[in-house]
Amino acid sequence: MVLKDQLSHIIESLSQVGFEMVLIGGSLLLLLLGLIAKRSLVSQIVYVLVLVLAMTLVPLPTDLGVWFGGALAVQELTWLFRLVFSFLGVWVVFYPTANRHPFEYYFLLLAVIAGSAFMLSAQHLLVIYLAIELTSFASYLLTNFNFEKRSFEAGIKYLIFGGTASALALYGASLIYGFTGTLLVSEMDFALVQNPALLNVGLLLFIGAMLFKVSLVPFHIWVPTTYQVAPTSAVAILSVIPKIAGFVLLHRVLLAVDVHTQYWLYVVIVAVGMATIVIGTLGALRQTNIKRMIAYGAIAHSGFLLGALLIPGETGVVAFAWYALAYGIINLVAFYMVSVLEDRQLLDVKDLAGLSRTEGYFGGLITIVMVALIGLPPTVGFTIKFYLFTALWGWYQTVVDPWIMGYLVVALMSVVFSLFFYLKVPYFIFLKESDGDVQSVTNPGQRVIATIFTLVLLWLFISPDILNNIADNIKSIAW
């Protein structure tokens, strides 16, 4: 290609990444505004405006394709989750967490979203690496944003763990590059390599970076500590947006590797998913800190999401998209409740004893959210688990693979076990008596927001039209 053609291709491609460009530009603007504006309200307004503007620039789902010489592949899932990210990102401004340095805080949140957005479409090893690192660096910093002693401790631990994982992933990427001779995931042909042992090592290490982002075993260990000390609104974002993006990326990479022909990798993925569910669920059992408990629950949810990726074809993608979307909403709501409680230093379930005397209504809302996290009717949590299990069962009947059966059994058991820890919260709120005085926790505004949030969970159960529409739009993806 001559230079002129290259330039025109780049300019043409730029129109496809308007979403990401607005996010990055907006985040820089926010940083600059921080020099002159002092009020945190300004930062919140600019943050929301940037996200809304970005949302309007998402290209239509009819306009999909490959851009920047193959480095970015804009697919149906990319389109969907760009919208979802900007939509979910807006809600954290309602969280009551007080922050020092609000401008820097929202700058970092936008950086996380921008990095995740790039992960949605990246299919060039360098872009993948850059996107993951952009998200990671911003996450390291966000972990510190409570500016307490233990925040810094969690921050450096998170960084060392993440840094090691990403260094290993980079080494894996270099091996993949060496054996396939290309950095473009779409051009790699793993079947051509004669002796794939070293290549497989590289592949495994590289996939590790994604496992780290989506908190799958054995890269999940940073999750509980980080979630516990980071500001709750940041945790709400971190537990949803990079995770979904990581799964979309993992999906693309597994697709390129053709995981169903590489049986060993397939088994590894299934085993990782099962181990994640088991460890997330068992770990949550003994937690008394609500934030830590939901963090372990989030690990288990990652295992469920991985299950959706194992199902080939349209059903799998639809199950994944649903689960991811609904999981994102449920988690945002759950962490909103947590942030309200955290505002009053009520993070241990024991502190919640007898709360129903003053906060019966809010306690009821929390109960609904916990029911959604378990996955029982009448909440959207049930809808997605039901759909996922049906899809898994359907696929098991076509392949009759004992690994899938095992996965199903583990997942169902996990739902049963999760009853024990999630219901601990309503148990303490409603059935335990407290020794001391119980003060009220919420103000009317918070109750209204919590009500709206909770109603969404119920409404999506009763009328899953939105989910069905999404399914219609992403049907063209094939495994």
Partner: protein, 651 residues
Amino acid sequence: MSNPAIHLTLVLLLPLAGGILTYLSGQSMVRRTALVGMVPGLIAAGMLLFMSNDSSITIRFDWLPGHSLGWQVDHVSAVLIALVYFISFLVHLFSLHYLQHDPSIHRYFAKLGFFTTSMLGLLAADHLLLVFVFWELVGFSSYLLIGFWFSQEDKAKSAREAFMVNRVADAGLLIGVILMVMVLDQPFLSELSAVSSSPLVHLAGIGLLIGALGKSAQFPFFGWLPKAMAGPTPVSALIHAATMVAAGVYLLFRVVPVLSPLVMGLAAILGAVTALMAAIAALTQHDIKKVLAYSTISQLGYMVLGVGVGAYQASLFHLWTHAFFKAGLFMAAGAVIHYFHELRHDDHEFDGQDMRNMGGLRKVLPVTHLVYLLCGLALSGLPFFSGFLSKEGILSGAWIWASQTGLWAYVVTDMAFITAFLTPLYVGRQILLVFYGEPRTVVERLQGMEPLWKVKLPLLLLAIASVWVFSAINPFNPTGWWLNAYLFSNDIFRAPEGFDYIEKLTFGLSVVLSAGGLLVSYWYFRPSRSQAYSNAGVPQTWYGRLSYRGWFMAEVYAALAKVYDALVMLSAWFDRKVIDKAVNAVGVASVVLSKAAAIFDREIIDGLVNLMAWLANLVGRLFTGIQSGKVQHQLVWMMVVLLAILLWFQF
């Protein structure tokens, strides 16, 4: 929405809407608003009977792709919806009298409306998931009603216990429903078809059976129903006699096509065992409501037995007749309790439910006495009453089933017949102790104890319905129910050729048993002897205590809870002793690792041993999900898993 859909929505939601209206308009308006939802609802339910006459009302709507939910009202549902409406309406009326002085009566009516709507939804639901949702709503609303006087610690506790026992059984139901919907692909009650026997089918059937046993208070779950008597008595009449406890029988009746012979046999055995156990427990109770509670359990046992032996039409018939006479008994008992509350309302030590304080009440509560007598005779299964007809069908069905099944099955039948003798015994005992003889406490006639509309009308309606003509023209023909043609197109369980003698024998035997039971009870509790009863204490013999304490079900549950607690303690101990040690050991081991890098050549053997211990600990931690806060331990952990994966697929 089509016309029937709108109509059905109205039928289902009117009680709830009325309840909410009553709640919002407050306590002072209750007399005017209490029936706002029920009267039009009753009319609408009557119209539903006609609408579903020609063909069932079926409504389906899409839920998830490939899944749709649905409602269906066929003849059985329509009749039962009308029944629930009728009883609920009478209970609404009676509650106006019973709770007239309660300051939160408007809250009561809201809960009552909520319950009625949940129950109706359960009857109209066709998809098993909807059935499950309404099943839970019914359980939850009944919890609210049982715990209506939640400020009294013991009543709130009873409500919680009843709720929890039900939840245990609901877990079984959930398994059954999930298997039915996802694996057997039979989500609609109206479209069930027989499936070939397989372990999964057995499992699904057993799951559904467990759910039904829980809701219908059958062994081993029956401990919750006596506890549920903590609620207001009209609530007991509605929930614990006529409607909610019958839901289990209704579910079994619906899923009969998919029940395997194994599950049917189990149902028959458990039903008969429950019938006998509860009848024995009813013999020694002092609390007027507890007798009725155990008798309800016993009668429900009959119904489950009927389904189990294949005479499910007779079970539904018994459900129908039982709803009337048991609701009548409970409401009459409520009238008695209310009378004592009014009489001795300043004496808080006095127990207005204890039969030791009663006797001779026929003079002060004549209508209540008459109603109690009629309904009690129906319950004891005397000819010319409805209970005789329906029980007859179940008993002969059980006998025929036993003659076709095997010798052991006669044990089941025998238990049913023994129960048929015990039933008149405790009924007679109760009627004699409450209404006859000399009063054992001072009683006097009070004004306004039996007002016409709120007490006499519901009581007399229910009592009259217990007479045979309102069930069948011929007082001796158990298959003569006038609804048979409408419900089952006359396709009912009949004795096969050559077994006619069983029907005749059953007939003779039950007449003898019911009359004999009444005579025996008269011998023991005749007015001249009942005076001494006021000093009766708690039975001291082991069999007496077994009966009085309801087979120690509450203690069994408590023991199970203790076992669970012990398991929790054990796991905590394990956590402390083993896992914490393991965590410490990992800390030690990683120090060893860093030293090993320097002294590897000197102490290879030692290093290997330590490495093994360290690996073992790591595996232990892998399955416990415990993590130390040390980032390097976490990294070691991660690397070991990665290496394990690499080694695994490379070799």
